[in-house]
Symmetry: C2
Subunit: 586 residues, 2 copies
């Protein structure tokens, strides 16, 4: 039984940075070679970054990807790494990409994988199953592949597959069994979702059984706009045994020796397999010899607890949004409340206190503790703290216009937005927004006021989870003998917008312990009114909440992007008409 | 040869208003019956409105549509209209809609058409070709149908098809020929695009030839968020003759007598036709008798010129956004420039002068003519005119913060945004945004400043087209002996943001005559740098423009929705990563 030393490169590419991404492939292949690897794997769309969305329709972009692949193969050989086979994801096309109706079939872009060896592209594979749900629109972008690419390499038959190929039964994994494959490579750009790791392992096991083969699953890490990729790369044997598993949310080189069945007689090239898939066979000779010395083992990392996982996702999502877009620093308003405190703590974890500006923006309705709690937070986290009272500007508006009620409440939030944007223009900071998912869902925010900003780390975090995250982060600091970043007073006090005298969230909204389960059922679960009532919720509260959610769609459309931790964050992936007369309560 | 009197109902449904939409079907069927119609046709998704986007995933919504269809059939019979066959679009599902990977095939939502007769749903058809490009995401929502529904009615074989079925070769139209069909009904929710009417007629003719049958094409009219539906319903004979054609952008009952071939012997029910389509045959007996008296003719309306077409689209898009969302009125800032003048004229045409508030918001940099031209516009259009000087508020911000340069320029635009939103909160107006597509494309606007607002009628209109529209609208008024709404001075003066002394657009941007063709090539045409240079554009200007467009993506994401007149309006349908390191100029 041959043994192959595999290197799974859990790296962080950037969308559109083809030169930088190719540089990552060269650097990590060098590291893999130094570890004695015989086959090196990189994630889906490694060369272009993922997802590239409508850049697919720009022919010059497709051509750049195709040229970069050829150059990478040559560069690896020039680096002295030519013997080491490297699998890398990229964007390919048969011809001009398909942009509209009446396009000829087969003339479209491909979500592709290539195997590079001795300066050449030895084999290519085109993704067969294209995801077209949730955040995925791959039917818009790609033509599905109809070949299973099998490479004979080190005496083993290795099949190439990409991401969604793993998530649907049948297709390449079933075909791999018929093609006598010993190892299925699955390269991924698989976005993080809360508890997705619990889903992923059983799925990999199911496909390993379907293929009767070992699966090498490699995923990218990093933030890309609203998505975060978590890694969680692994190798799983045909019998379901997890041989090795990488940590989440960090770059990682996972090197592991895997015993694999020797390839039998090669089947016919072009043979028809399952679901109309035709096999394409290639042979790679002259890979690096099996290393001597001790066997390599990548170890087994268990996924972490929910709060730790979410916190790491939010920190990574914010850090990459800031770094990849080259912002020097961030600025946010500090109200003394829990939401801005948690966002500030995430920002300091992501960027360091010296790159975070926190501004207290008190009005005549601000409580004394709104300032003292914000100052306490600043001291704990080391962020750059400032105070900008808003009353002079608010008073000038009020002296020049006749405003009352909600118009006056919103005016205060908007003056704060103007101040933060002025600081952004003057000093270059990215403005962070701090509204939680519960507020966004019911429209409890001021459009162009507290909704102002370029990125919102907690837009996909329910209010009750904001509290849990705050407590977890403080406990974790205490456990490590460090200062808890979030003032206990910010965690304990009743939530208030402080836009009118004595105002509390509970004046307008149900308690968050009541509100959040209804929102989760309605939004994440797509439950209707009857379903929510059947789950035991008070019909009057359900009706009130549903009305709030249904009429807040426009505000959500205008909200800042933020890291997704579920499939139903608000913004672009929640596609609902603004103009809609239908109401659950009739 | 039998003659059938067809009634094509070019109506304006609202998304989610199932009761109101069913009411429209009943009212227009009554009108059609009074005209002696023997078959009545309504648009795609008539009962739910179109597009319903992610409402498809809410089971209670699907159930509401299914129940409404049955009730409508019964109500039509109760209205005494039961004998008259009515074709109506609705949302159906085989089972719970498909929401994720691993969903069982065939258990999904359907974009459906039903034929109602004598209180019953006599036949149904499921859309076969699902569009998944541009503004369409139907692979996300629907399972494609695999049957061709043929109804024998008045001695004629009538096939049912839906929208995209017409836009792709093969499929239901080829199948209809094999099934011996004399009339193909095609019901539509086909959004307006500039010059789409020039595309539509040749397409209908091609399918008529493919099917060897007459085609009755019925489209909705009206605005739905960013989409406008234009109507342009028509009947085209198998030989390509246009028998009748309805006007664009207005509701219309098109009644026309059509000679159709008598149905031969019925083929077998369940016979396999083209592309895996199986025929389902139904027979409807007892439709209303052929009317006596003169033949009905719907007449032939020619599509109008480009400027007239765009103007009507923008007026209808704004009117329906305001009316369907139940706003009492709109407010906008009037700078004296061309963009706000054109938006004001559109708003007055859509709503009347008494529902439009125009606010002059002068600063110390505002020219004398910025006020006098705005006042002149108000007088010409009869809108509610006000003046709110911004300098006191701007001065208070400047006294309390240390700002300079662009931060001071943007501050003025943001104070204007705060004032307009305060008026909106205080008095209930929808705020209109007035940035044109050229400005949005290059990011020449202030985020949370002039970009503030709920709807932007000209977000998809290039600056050079804004001028053409202004001149056309004034000429049209003169032709009709009315007052031209737009001051000549607003049309003639050089564009300026007036945020610093003597500022002109041409300080920062190429002339719009140079800029717009580059933008159109890059954005609408997906041309790259080399392609634009090959088209004769100056390489230095191309590089400058491309850099501006590529870095303005985030501002565009935050822009208000507005009526689309092309496939590449900015906003939700332009799907580009914000974080993207790729540049055309390397």
């Amino acid at each position: 039984m041959p043994t192959l030393r595999l290197a799974l490169c859990q790296v962080n590419p950037s969308v559109g940075d083809l030169t930088g991404n190719a540089g990552l492939v060269r650097a990590w292949t060098r590291r893999a070679a130094a570890s004695g690897a015989q086959l090196v794997l990189f994630p889906e769309m490694m060369l272009t970054g993922y997802p590239v969305e409508d850049l697919v329709f720009r022919r010059s972009f497709v051509a750049t990807s195709q040229a970069a692949l050829g150059r990478l193969a040559a560069d690896l050989a020039a680096d002295g790494l030519g013997d080491l086979p490297v699998v890398v994801g990229y964007l390919d096309a048969d011809g001009p990409p398909q942009v509209s109706a009446d396009a000829e079939p087969g003339r479209g872009a491909r979500n592709a994988a290539a195997l590079l060896h001795r300066g050449e592209v030895v084999a290519t594979y085109f993704k067969h199953h294209l995801p077209n749900y949730g955040v995925f629109d791959e039917d818009r972008y790609f033509v599905p592949g109809d070949m299973l690419t099998v490479v004979r390499l080190g005496g083993v038959n290795v099949a190439l597959t990409i991401c969604e190929d793993l998530w649907q039964a049948g297709g390449p994994f079933a075909a791999a069994r018929r093609a006598g494959v010993g190892l299925v490579v699955n390269i991924n750009g698989s976005p993080y979702e809360l508890n997705k790791d619990d889903l992923r392992l059983p799925l990999v096991r199911r496909r390993a059984a379907e293929a009767g083969a070992t699966i090498a699953y490699v995923n990218m890490i990093g933030g890309q706009d609203e998505l975060v990729f978590e890694g969680d790369s692994m190798i799983v044997a045909a019998d379901g045994t997890v041989l090795t598993r990488a940590p989440q949310f960090v770059t990682h080189l996972l090197v592991h020796d895997v015993d694999l069945p020797a390839a039998g007689d090669a089947g016919d090239d072009g043979e028809q397999l399952a679901e109309g898939l035709r096999v394409v066979r290639r042979t790679v000779d002259g890979i690096p010899p099996s290393p001597t010395g001790p066997a390599a083992t990548g170890g087994l990392i268990e996924p972490v607890a929910d709060e730790a996982e979410v916190w790491q996702a939010l920190v990574l999502g914010l850090r990459d949004y800031v770094e990849k877009n080259r912002f020097p620093s961030v600025v946010l308003g500090l109200s003394g409340g829990i939401d801005s405190a948690v966002v500030a703590a995430i920002a300091v974890d992501a960027l360091g206190g010296d790159r975070v500006v926190g501004v207290s923006l008190p009005s005549q309705h601000s409580s004394e503790h709104s300032r003292s709690d914000a100052a306490d937070l600043a001291k704990r986290t080391g962020l750059d703290y400032r105070v900008e009272p808003i009353q002079p500007m608010v008073d000038t508006f009020l002296a020049n216009m006749s405003l009352s009620g909600v118009a006056v409440e919103n005016l205060q939030a908007r003056v704060r937005g103007v101040i933060l944007m002025a600081l952004s223009n003057q000093e270059g900071h990215l403005v962070l927004t701090t509204g939680n998912k519960s507020e966004l869902a019911v429209g409890y925010s001021t459009l162009y006021g507290d909704s102002v900003g370029g990125f919102n780390p907690i837009k996909d975090v329910w209010k009750t989870l904001v509290w849990r995250l705050a407590k977890w982060r403080n406990t974790e600091a205490t456990r490590l003998g460090l200062t808890p970043p979030i003032p206990e007073n910010s965690i304990g006090k009743p939530p208030s917008a402080e836009l009118s005298p004595g105002q509390l969230d509970s004046d307008s909204l149900p308690d968050y312990d009541v509100l959040d389960p209804i929102l989760i059922g309605y939004i994440d679960g797509d439950l209707g009114r009857e379903g929510l009532i059947a789950d035991g919720h008070d019909p009057a509260v359900v009706d009130k909440v549903l009305r709030l959610v249904d009429t807040a769609e426009y505000k959500r459309r205008q909200s800042a992007p933020g890291t997704k931790i579920s499939m139903k964050a608000f913004g672009r992936d929640r596609r609902l008409p603004i103009t809609n007369r239908w109401r659950e309560d009739g």
